[in-house]
């Protein structure tokens, strides 16, 4: 990552001259109290000091991560382990949050649900960020006709209500973990390429890009070495604020039966439209997944908001 800190001038404390508005914004917002810590450490220190809600959000996210990673160790049952004599238990010593219509332990399924949510969420956002960066940076860098047509395509994509489009695609592809991750990733990427493009457009105009060109740098060197590093803080912000949306979208698709197929437990799938009839007998089947989902969305929202304020104040709002 050496090229990154060098080009963006964030990591070395106060740069003599801010190399870009993003670099400057990060330098101002993050590096003010400490000029020795690298910025990626300093962000978290600032978070703990100045952003109580962000810290709570971060704690929830960490708890979710722990649940996802340790699911096999902390759960006494398998996520698909049925036990028909123990159907519809509300709560007891063996099943803390009760059981569902097949006698599966709800807590176990919620914990494994965190794993699926994060798996799909992180996978889709990672894929989406790569795509958004590729489209955004290329569109901004080459400009002209190429940009015009690519952006009309993005316009067309964004004309659809996202949920309708995703539902259509998922119903055709069929529900599977891989399909939903890929589809959400592509949608996320196209949608956010606009933001990346906007930032890349402004970076392109800086004199250091011009001087790089004057020194004979090629397209690859300029985009990868000069534009990309300065777009990165924006991408981090897009990724963290987008995670909650992606997790929520996965849940709504799974809710409709178009996301992650059974028997994998997902929070949206556990709330499911198809299982509505069972919930009249066992309301906890609806309550706990809804609570888990709300907590997760809350956690990612707060963490994302705080990171956005600390990393890139220009994107504030919404």
């Amino acid at each position: 990552m050496r090229f990154w800190t060098r080009a963006s001038g964030i990591g070395r404390g106060a740069p003599a001259l801010p190399t870009s508005s993003v670099g400057a914004a990060v330098a101002v917002a993050v590096a003010r109290p400490s000029r020795t810590r690298p910025w990626y450490v300093d962000v978290w220190v600032q978070m703990l000091r100045r952003k109580p809600l962000g810290t709570i959000g971060g704690a929830i996210v960490v708890a979710m991560l722990a649940a996802a990673v340790l699911a096999d160790l902390v759960t006494p049952y398998g996520f698909a382990q049925t036990s028909l004599p123990e159907r519809f238990i509300a709560v007891n010593g063996a099943h803390w949050l009760g059981t569902d219509q097949l006698g599966r332990d709800l807590l176990t399924r919620l914990i494994y649900g965190a794993r699926i949510s994060l798996y799909v969420g992180f996978g889709a956002v990672l894929l989406g960020c790569v795509l958004a960066t590729t489209i955004g940076v290329l569109s901004a860098y080459f400009g002209g006709r190429f940009d015009l047509w690519l952006q009309r395509g993005v316009d067309a994509w964004m004309a659809f209500p996202p949920l309708l489009l995703l539902m259509s695609i998922m119903s055709l592809l069929g529900p599977s973990v891989w399909n939903i991750t890929a589809v959400l990733g592509v949608a996320f990427g196209i949608q956010n390429s606009r933001i990346v493009r906007g930032v890349a457009l402004s970076i392109k105009e800086y004199t250091y890009v011009e001087s790089a060109r004057a020194l004979g740098s090629g397209h690859v060197r300029i985009t990868m070495g000069h534009i990309l590093p300065n777009v990165l803080p924006t991408i981090i912000v897009v990724a963290t604020t987008g995670l909650s949306t992606v997790i929520l979208t996965e849940a709504s698709l799974s809710f409709l039966g178009l996301g992650v197929p059974p028997p994998y437990p997902t929070w949206g799938g556990m709330l499911s439209l198809a299982g509505l009839d069972h919930m009249y007998q066992a309301p906890w089947l609806a309550i706990w997944p809804a609570v888990a989902l709300s907590l997760a969305v809350f956690g990612f929202n707060m963490l994302g908001d705080a990171l956005r304020d600390l990393l890139d104040p220009r994107l504030k709002g919404g």
Partner: protein, 315 residues
């Protein structure tokens, strides 16, 4: 102004063309075959080939695309459903009022709540009411609307013996009964959408309240009420209105889920049922109609900005 309008309309045409290509390509390139299901599961035709021929699926894709688009542009014919053979447009028009009413009520609920809480939060910044308002907004942002909808359907029926009305009554037959049915879904959906509106309202009003002309209004001795409601609110509403415009696709997308949970016979339910039956023409045409509406709406919003702010026209 005329030139600006013409240019904006001209730019919308390639977008709409690409929209139709995306929809069509998506439906044709993807795996999943409705013909097999129709023949094997429901005996719609003696053989697969016969049904394919019947539905026109045996012709090249560009011919099918041409026919679809040609029908729409020349005759206003959006095709027929594979399963019922009924014209899609008729069904869409029949169901659209339900979705429109749901969307209008939802927007109304979220705007009323969002603006009210937002104003209180901004005017009483950093007081208890502000904190309560902001916490409510965060809660609204975090609770997924379909989760809340399921809880609203399930919990009251268990604990209070109250259930939403399942038989839909059109607004034309009995507006009051109709409102009784629509108000619960609209409240559920609207409350969860009020969060972002409240946050934008608060931050934009705070911005406006710090401006010079507000100070002038204060020094003229006007009451707080007049200053906030007559002077500040108008300017503070601009970002709120553009947010509502931006969120319209979300209202439409969400109505699919809300209509499915509350069994409202709107476009959303039509779309969802068509999806589960792989009824391509319906999915395709409904997607296209709605996307065209969104494009048209964005165009209208842009044009209205141009009317309000002359600087935009000359950009």
């Amino acid at each position: 102004m005329k030139r600006y309008v013409l240019r904006r309309v001209a730019l919308a045409i390639p977008t709409l063309f690409l929209v139709s290509v995306i929809v069509f390509a998506m439906m044709r390139l993807m795996p999943g075959d409705v013909a097999t299901r129709m023949v094997e599961g429901h005996a719609y035709a003696p053989t697969l080939a016969a049904l394919r021929h019947d539905l026109g699926l045996d012709r090249p894709a560009y011919v099918q695309y041409g026919e679809w688009i040609g029908g729409i542009v020349l005759r206003g014919d959006f095709g027929n459903s594979y399963w019922t053979r009924q014209p899609i447009l008729d069904e869409f028009v029949r169901r659209f009022p339900v979705t429109l009413e749901l969307a209008a009520l939802t927007i109304f609920v979220s705007v009323v709540i969002g603006i009210f809480v937002g104003i209180v939060s901004a005017v009483r910044q950093d007081t208890a009411s502000d904190y309560i308002g902001r916490i409510l907004a965060i809660l609204a942002l975090s609770v997924p609307y379909f989760g809340l909808a399921v809880l609203v359907v399930v919990l009251p029926s268990i604990y209070f013996k109250w259930t939403p009305v399942w038989t839909y009554i059109p607004i034309t037959r009995d507006p009051l009964e109709n409102l009784k049915i629509m108000i619960v879904p609209a409240l559920v959906f609207g409350v969860t959408r009020a969060g972002p509106i409240m946050r934008i309202m608060r931050s934009s009003l705070l911005d406006v309240l710090r401006q010079e002309y507000i100070r002038t209004a204060w020094s003229k001795g006007l009451s707080e009420r007049t200053i906030v409601l007559r002077h500040a609110l108008k300017n503070a509403m601009i970002p709120v209105i553009s947010l509502i415009g931006l969120q319209t696709p979300l209202y439409i997308g969400g109505s699919v889920i809300i209509e499915a949970i509350f069994r409202l016979p709107g476009v959303g339910l039509f779309f969802f049922e068509a999806l589960t039956k792989l009824d391509y023409p319906v999915v395709q045409s409904v997607n296209l109609i709605i996307a065209a509406m969104v494009v048209g709406l964005n165009l209208l919003i842009d044009l209205s900005y141009a009317v309000l702010d002359p600087r935009i026209r000359y950009r």
